[in-house]
């Protein structure tokens, strides 16, 4: 693993570990809820996650139409008393989020490992098909400075066009073949805001399955890829602001 500079003012607003599974025939919401009962002391709030499917139809004859179907609960969302930890137990996988203040990768991984054991026991998945680490950052843009002075990964507007920007959404998918990983980097600026969101999602997808004993080492690799993307996306001046 590489070593990366420590940032005392890292702009992370959420760090999450996500594991997707192929569900077993016997997996039920009731089993997930029973596992959640055992976590009630730590996760004091519980909500059902519902799956809504909206189908949009576009037809030149009849015009656009939409149909929404409620497929019922597809999981449970748990929140810790201080609302800093959020856990999703779903039929298709599980997600552990740490909201700000983000602590350390080891803390997030330890929490995910403990909860994965509970989830895995309840859902009894046939195989793990995807593991991901995802970090969402909120980056304050210095007023009056161009994006290039903060970001190295950027968009370009043709030089003959006006250069002022009232908002943007940039999504780049980058393969890291040497690590069997993919990354989705999303940058977003909402109109009038001086804060840019940088979402770095690194994942490894293997339809044939990922062995249980490999997932944590794989997540370490994904986190390393994330750091490469993070540190490679900012200028030295911007990184200095996070120290």
């Amino acid at each position: 693993m590489n070593t990366w500079p420590s940032l005392s003012k890292a702009p992370i607003v959420e760090g999450l570990i996500d594991i997707r599974v192929e569900q077993s025939a016997g997996a039920t919401i009731a089993a997930l809820k029973a596992a959640c009962d055992e976590l009630a002391a730590e996760f004091t709030s519980r909500q059902e996650r519902r799956l809504f499917l909206t189908q949009l139809n576009f037809s030149l004859e009849t015009g656009p139409s939409s149909q929404t179907k409620d497929d019922g609960p597809d999981g449970v969302i748990l929140r810790s008393a201080d609302e800093k930890w959020v856990v999703q137990f779903r039929l298709d996988g599980f997600t552990v989020s740490r909201l700000q203040p983000y602590g350390t990768w080891d803390e997030l991984k330890a929490k995910a490992s403990m909860l994965w054991a509970k989830y895995s026991n309840a859902a009894n998945p046939t195989k793990i098909v995807r593991v991901a680490s995802r970090f969402i950052n909120r980056v304050q843009l210095p007023i009056g400075e161009s994006f290039e002075q903060t970001f190295l990964t950027n968009f370009v507007i043709g030089p003959s066009l006006p250069q002022s920007v009232a908002g943007y959404l940039l999504r780049v998918v980058i393969p890291f073949d040497e690590h069997d990983a993919m990354a989705i980097l999303t940058q977003s600026l909402d109109g009038n805001s001086t804060e840019c969101i940088l979402d770095i999602d690194t994942f490894s997808e293997q339809p044939q399955g990922i062995a249980q004993n490999e997932i944590w080492a794989k997540l370490d690799v994904l986190r390393d890829v994330k750091n490469r993307l993070f540190f490679g996306s900012f200028t030295a001046a911007a990184l200095e602001r996070f120290k």
Binding site: V13, E14, L16, D18, T44, S45, Q47, T54, L56, F58, L60, P64, I77, R79, A81, D82, E83, K84, V86, Q88, T95, S97, L99, P101, R134, I136, R171, I184, T186, D199
Partner: protein, 127 residues
């Protein structure tokens, strides 16, 4: 909305992205938090000219917040930290505790400090 195949393809891609960007917990609106915000705003609007603490605490929106129970505690403490306000009655009613020592009663600053300290000890609000 365009009518071309490419336009439909873009729309389909955008639909798929909705689920992708809805996964992180920070993208999800918490209905309890929305309810708390709305009730707290209503309470402030309706009691801003009242001087009686009893009237302030008897306000229906304030009582509805008390009715939310323990899950309202982190939100009340965060609001207390950011905006102050007479949250002490609600905190005491919900938690059945009172960390304010008798000599500090009446000093808003010290009462606020005592409750925030209490919240930190209980892990309900950040240090």
């Amino acid at each position: 909305m365009g009518a071309s195949t490419q336009s439909v393809q873009l729309q389909r891609q955008l639909n798929e992205l909705t689920g992708y960007y809805a996964l992180p917990a920070s993208s999800r609106r918490d209905p309890r938090r929305d309810r708390f915000r709305s009730l707290a705003q209503q309470w402030r609007n309706e009691t801003q000219w009242l001087s009686s603490t009893t009237e302030v605490a008897m306000n229906p929106a304030y009582q509805a917040i008390i009715g939310m129970g323990a899950e309202a505690l982190p939100m009340i403490l965060e609001d207390l930290r950011q905006n102050s306000g007479h949250w002490f009655w609600a905190l005491k009613a919900i938690s059945n505790e009172d960390p304010v020592v008798p000599r500090d009663r009446g000093s808003i600053k010290k009462m606020k400090g005592a409750w925030l300290q209490w919240g930190q000890t209980k892990g309900l609000v950040r240090a």
